[in-house]
Symmetry: D2
Subunit: 389 residues, 4 copies
Amino acid sequence: MFRRLPVSHHTNSSAAGGRTGVWLIGARGSVATTAVAGCAALAAGLQPPTGLVTETEEFAASGLPALPSLVFGGHDTAGTPLPKRAEELAAQGVLPHWLPAAVTAELAAAEARIRPGGPLPGDGRSRTELIEAFAADMREFTESTGVARTVVVNVASTEPLPAAGVWPASSLYAAAALRAGCGYVNFTPSTGMHLPELAQQAAASGLPYAGRDGKTGQTLLRAVLAPMFRQRALAVRAWSGTNLLGGGDGAALADPAAAAAKNAGKARVLADNLGTVPEGEVHIDEVPALGDWKTAWDHVVFDGFLGTRMVLQTIWQGCDSALAAPLVLDLVRLTARALERGLSGPRPELGFYFKDPDGATSSLAEQYAALLAFADRLASPAPGEGEGR
Amino acid sequence: MFRRLPVSHHTNSSAAGGRTGVWLIGARGSVATTAVAGCAALAAGLQPPTGLVTETEEFAASGLPALPSLVFGGHDTAGTPLPKRAEELAAQGVLPHWLPAAVTAELAAAEARIRPGGPLPGDGRSRTELIEAFAADMREFTESTGVARTVVVNVASTEPLPAAGVWPASSLYAAAALRAGCGYVNFTPSTGMHLPELAQQAAASGLPYAGRDGKTGQTLLRAVLAPMFRQRALAVRAWSGTNLLGGGDGAALADPAAAAAKNAGKARVLADNLGTVPEGEVHIDEVPALGDWKTAWDHVVFDGFLGTRMVLQTIWQGCDSALAAPLVLDLVRLTARALERGLSGPRPELGFYFKDPDGATSSLAEQYAALLAFADRLASPAPGEGEGR
Amino acid sequence: MFRRLPVSHHTNSSAAGGRTGVWLIGARGSVATTAVAGCAALAAGLQPPTGLVTETEEFAASGLPALPSLVFGGHDTAGTPLPKRAEELAAQGVLPHWLPAAVTAELAAAEARIRPGGPLPGDGRSRTELIEAFAADMREFTESTGVARTVVVNVASTEPLPAAGVWPASSLYAAAALRAGCGYVNFTPSTGMHLPELAQQAAASGLPYAGRDGKTGQTLLRAVLAPMFRQRALAVRAWSGTNLLGGGDGAALADPAAAAAKNAGKARVLADNLGTVPEGEVHIDEVPALGDWKTAWDHVVFDGFLGTRMVLQTIWQGCDSALAAPLVLDLVRLTARALERGLSGPRPELGFYFKDPDGATSSLAEQYAALLAFADRLASPAPGEGEGR
Amino acid sequence: MFRRLPVSHHTNSSAAGGRTGVWLIGARGSVATTAVAGCAALAAGLQPPTGLVTETEEFAASGLPALPSLVFGGHDTAGTPLPKRAEELAAQGVLPHWLPAAVTAELAAAEARIRPGGPLPGDGRSRTELIEAFAADMREFTESTGVARTVVVNVASTEPLPAAGVWPASSLYAAAALRAGCGYVNFTPSTGMHLPELAQQAAASGLPYAGRDGKTGQTLLRAVLAPMFRQRALAVRAWSGTNLLGGGDGAALADPAAAAAKNAGKARVLADNLGTVPEGEVHIDEVPALGDWKTAWDHVVFDGFLGTRMVLQTIWQGCDSALAAPLVLDLVRLTARALERGLSGPRPELGFYFKDPDGATSSLAEQYAALLAFADRLASPAPGEGEGR
Ligand SMILES: NC(=O)c1ccc[n+]([C@@H]2O[C@H](COP(=O)([O-])OP(=O)(O)OC[C@H]3O[C@@H](n4cnc5c(N)ncnc54)[C@H](O)[C@@H]3O)[C@@H](O)[C@H]2O)c1
Ligand SMILES: NC(=O)c1ccc[n+]([C@@H]2O[C@H](COP(=O)([O-])OP(=O)(O)OC[C@H]3O[C@@H](n4cnc5c(N)ncnc54)[C@H](O)[C@@H]3O)[C@@H](O)[C@H]2O)c1
Ligand SMILES: NC(=O)c1ccc[n+]([C@@H]2O[C@H](COP(=O)([O-])OP(=O)(O)OC[C@H]3O[C@@H](n4cnc5c(N)ncnc54)[C@H](O)[C@@H]3O)[C@@H](O)[C@H]2O)c1
Ligand SMILES: NC(=O)c1ccc[n+]([C@@H]2O[C@H](COP(=O)([O-])OP(=O)(O)OC[C@H]3O[C@@H](n4cnc5c(N)ncnc54)[C@H](O)[C@@H]3O)[C@@H](O)[C@H]2O)c1
Ligand code: NA
Ligand code: NA
């Protein structure tokens, strides 16, 4: 279907900046596998860079690391190796069926750099020991591969909301990323850096981080539709939604405690954009027959002129991992460049990518404008010129 | 259901600027009737100003004419009087059933100021005679009511695309508006001011005008969804749509020649926002059983990462006249204020309201930003300060 | 909109059989109010009998009581009188806005025959006392109105699933109906006659009864779509559904315990028709902004030839009470006639009307065929001829 | 994904009856390719017989030819060989990607039996010459393969409605089938046997035939939903539909003349089932981006009790060829058995499969009942017993 394409990736910084490490928490999951396989396919010119915002011309001068310069490794608690995971995703139609064979070398190379995650039940290590062990893996990866810098990305299964005082795994990994001097991206609704105890360390670290929870479907739509209603002075009365998911994430979110974390982000986009919380609920159902495909149905009741009741419905049918993977690559490139430029702390400019962003606006149009401004800021400074936060 | 509400309309300019005339072409149509009845309901505090963008706080300092200061009249070729049209609309649920009785005085007052439109079949008058007759009606309205200025709004039935060299009725009315010194708004897809022969007169007139074709449903959605696809670097392959309309407009658009004018605007929003014209058609069907309710179904096929094919569908169920009427009131207020401030020529700042705007961007978010900038510009100048274009 | 119509209701039995009593449990609810007001509108020829199956020609010879011969009364625990409830429903668009005024006499007459239901919190009466009190009200109604016979219909709020050993209110009313010699219809998912302790009394009573839970939307669709999949040998993998309801029923079903009763019926129609239980869940959300309107979205994943995955989605937007009320009138007429003809016990022939029918098939087409056969059986016997069960 | 399955095809007649020839008009099209490849996959136990009604137990005793006993050949005017067409369909996800390789021998065998169809532009042969040439190909196929009998199936591109007096290609093939003593199935909306001049020959031939236009999506749904509305006495006011099709058929139907033939069948199912023709149109759009996938959106406006306006919408997303191919195999088996049993003339019992059936009812439930009765009739007679029509 697709031929090798003449693709010229933005490469302006790769020579100077060297290669970039990408450390994936949940490295054998669907999103991670799609990101690794897809990056290889794009680097080899086997596919056009559809879905990669950082490959559009607005980012050409930002000095982002080139796709072929990304080096992958990570943690996972599951054992199925990446090449086999890629086969499974191809059988479901997430990856083109010929792709796993075409990028088998790159998948095997990443697989060789995956270390056991944790903690598994029965693991007796203390919090400090776990953090140190994870950080050691990250440091070892950076050193052994010789990458100039590393970005840690959480794409592990959604965690339940943790009990008070308990550090969930995602926060152990976030602490490890700080300790190992890595940039950090939380693509999941899990806690990660959002722990009061981590705030001070993060502030002192001089490292950039961003989150939470990639915005790939229902919330993406809500981030453009809710502003429309507000701008037109239409009064939204109820916004209801149902998500049908198969795949690993569907199973994780069938746990109401895990879904609660997800739904908080979904509600926020409405509250922020509408200035009020409309009636309506959000459901997340596991439907294994859908495989990696998700369907999101939204039903919006609104009042028009003279109180006339009207309805908008949307149905989004997408491939979850294919929606998420390019955002992961975008976030890695932008965070790596921020790290290179010495920008630290939470990066609200990346709110375009998240359901529950760090202190950003909630309208996609404004988030995109902020992202473009960030792209300009990332552009290489004049020689000899440095830049702080 | 609704009680009298404490509503404080923005009134900062009404004292100084006096009352404002609104001359509706198609004054007995559904949109016109809803605008007249709704304006009266809001002026009396019987309903909140839902759907009126100019009643949001961003416009509070713009010096817009207050709703109670609007005075309505117009042309129509049909004979059913406004109070009866309002009854019909209430029976269909477009207006609250108690509203026609509550505003019967205002409807009767407007009805008394409606003059016969044209040209009807067999009308022997020349182009110049028709224009002069229409202009005379407009002038007479302005003088007899004592309004400070008048805005002409075309809300007549959609015309077929005119044959080359022929002036359609909408352009006769537009020429008359120029001659009578009125601001002009074309809420329909008809030709209106878009005639080469009118361009010079319009430029010389020193009058503001805006168009074309109010954006109230499918195109409104497309103006927020198409930018989302572009910003996310998702490749839209096909965008198909079907509109089901009852009411007078449905009947007019069942004529393929009239629908052609409408569809041109709908296609433009995609081409401008996506930078390419995707596959797919747009249908407009007359379904009398829907009354004044319209349903618009859109089906978008797009490629994500690695060429994965995905689909978004939207279903919009709205009341046509209730969607259009507040926009008409907004446009009247903004154009009247522009006229007062001496702003002339096409007003691309009003692209937010139109399917096929005069030289504006096509993304709703950018159009809204331009509108807010315009709101600032309209704010009263310092004493003694004038402003040209 | 509607004029008086020349309607000739089937009246063949009303002379001979006399008038028929209808005792509504939940007599001031939306369904009950719509049934009473609608019956009066039809009897007066103000509306055509849309939605009334028993007014189609297939039932012309069945000897059903004529609509004008129905006499209404009932129990309710709420106090808002019927004429006021009708006004509220008209304001929501459930009833034509002119209808409450047109049938105010009939509403007032029914209102006068409503007795306090129960038990309310703090009611100290024993089970037997309550049953006897309810039965006394029913007997008093039959006697004072002089109707030939009475059918009791449960249209009260859905109850939670009762704790083991506890008699819920619906079963107290069902027992009272038996004691008062009335036919009985359970239009709700509540327990009613489905209590082991009631089975023997019911069997001995010689009275006909039918239930459970009127089939008015999602389940109605499922009862025609599921057989289609089976007949075409298509393998349904997942059937998911979300219901958005306002109104009183939406509030009752927001209680998960009440929703559980409802969902059991919805699942059964799939299991029976498909021979297997597909993946997928059913949600019932309360959305007050929808008033008495409900929206049901269904999403069906099925396998076709060679395992190709396909999807059907349905969206049903209906007015709950307008869907339910004609079925209530149908059921009353059919049950009254069964009572007249001496048919007793559960009536599986009425499975056409129920989500969770007594021992009937689950395919709507077969249920309709069974109903037509029942219509034939109900036709008047030759003079002097009796008929048992 | 799928393993070899223990499949026991119904084989009761294959020994006695010998092998059965299947002559496909349009043998290299999508439907034909899917039927040939799918039959091979099922015969080899590589897939379960999903979608094949004749593999359900209701047909076990009907004496149908076993799937492994079907021998394929046919006419086509296009040149792409079957194995290559199968590769293309696998790339689109119509066939499992591993299937073409697994059944390459069977595809090559069928390919070797495809003869040039016609008439192509410039073909100078007379009507009689063309018919005779096609019939000769069919006879040669039957003889050279040694099959006991042959069924001709039209799965060629939809033709435009022919001009008066002109014999379209489909009718030439139908005449050839009669002349060659074959059973005949018209799976397309083209004219085929529906030509007055062919009626007498068909009647005299003693051969069974069936048509027209396979019912695989929108019309299938309408055939279950329209009876539901009628049975519930709900008044359908408007039924609108839009079909989006890619593939070869989408291109053919983009020709309004060809679409007209298709739409006639779609309208008939409503008229027959509702007893009235509701408002609304049907569109067929070509959307190449959809490949072999079709989307059908239907929008039904209906009146309930007291004239309350309600709406049902359905969205059907299916794979066209995967929907059609099993029906083709069903029809071949049933027609072959009818031929064996000496049943001749049009077979209304097969109306279950067609949009525009020969003299059958239009409700799917009744059509299914008629099909089951036909299955019983086809069951082997007692030894020595014959059966006429
Ligand atoms: N796909 C999307 O559109 C999308 C959007 C937003 C967020 N997300 C989030 O991305 C995450 C990944 O989704 P997915 O579909 O790839 O899920 P997945 O189930 O396929 O993969 C998750 C992986 O995380 C691993 N894991 C679990 N616990 C771990 C631990 N403690 N340490 C290391 N690894 C661990 C699992 O073994 C698994 O391999 C989820 O949290 C999901 O909510 C996905
Ligand atoms: N309602 C919406 O959402 C919407 C959106 C965009 C544009 N519009 C446009 O607004 C216009 C009005 O729509 P409507 O629903 O009120 O239609 P309508 O049919 O109810 O009213 C149109 C009126 O125009 C009158 N008319 C026709 N020719 C005339 C002439 N030559 N001179 C004077 N009057 C004439 C008719 O008599 C009628 O009263 C249409 O062109 C429509 O396309 C409406
Ligand atoms: N509308 C539909 O389409 C539909 C379909 C199937 C079933 N039903 C069932 O019909 C029932 C009525 O629905 P509705 O919309 O009219 O609800 P509603 O809330 O408007 O009315 C219920 C009435 O029951 C009364 N009630 C509650 N407890 C009672 C008691 N113990 N004794 C006497 N009265 C009591 C309430 O006071 C209220 O007036 C519900 O159980 C619903 O599930 C409705
Ligand atoms: N797929 C479905 O769901 C469905 C349903 C109902 C009817 N149909 C009908 O089935 C037919 C085939 O559909 P398809 O998707 O396979 O189309 P297609 O375009 O893939 O195949 C049609 C084939 O017919 C051949 N052909 C055209 N003219 C011919 C002629 N004169 N003689 C011999 N061959 C000729 C073409 O070369 C092509 O190979 C169409 O008429 C379609 O309307 C399909
Ligand atoms: Na209404
Ligand atoms: Na096709």
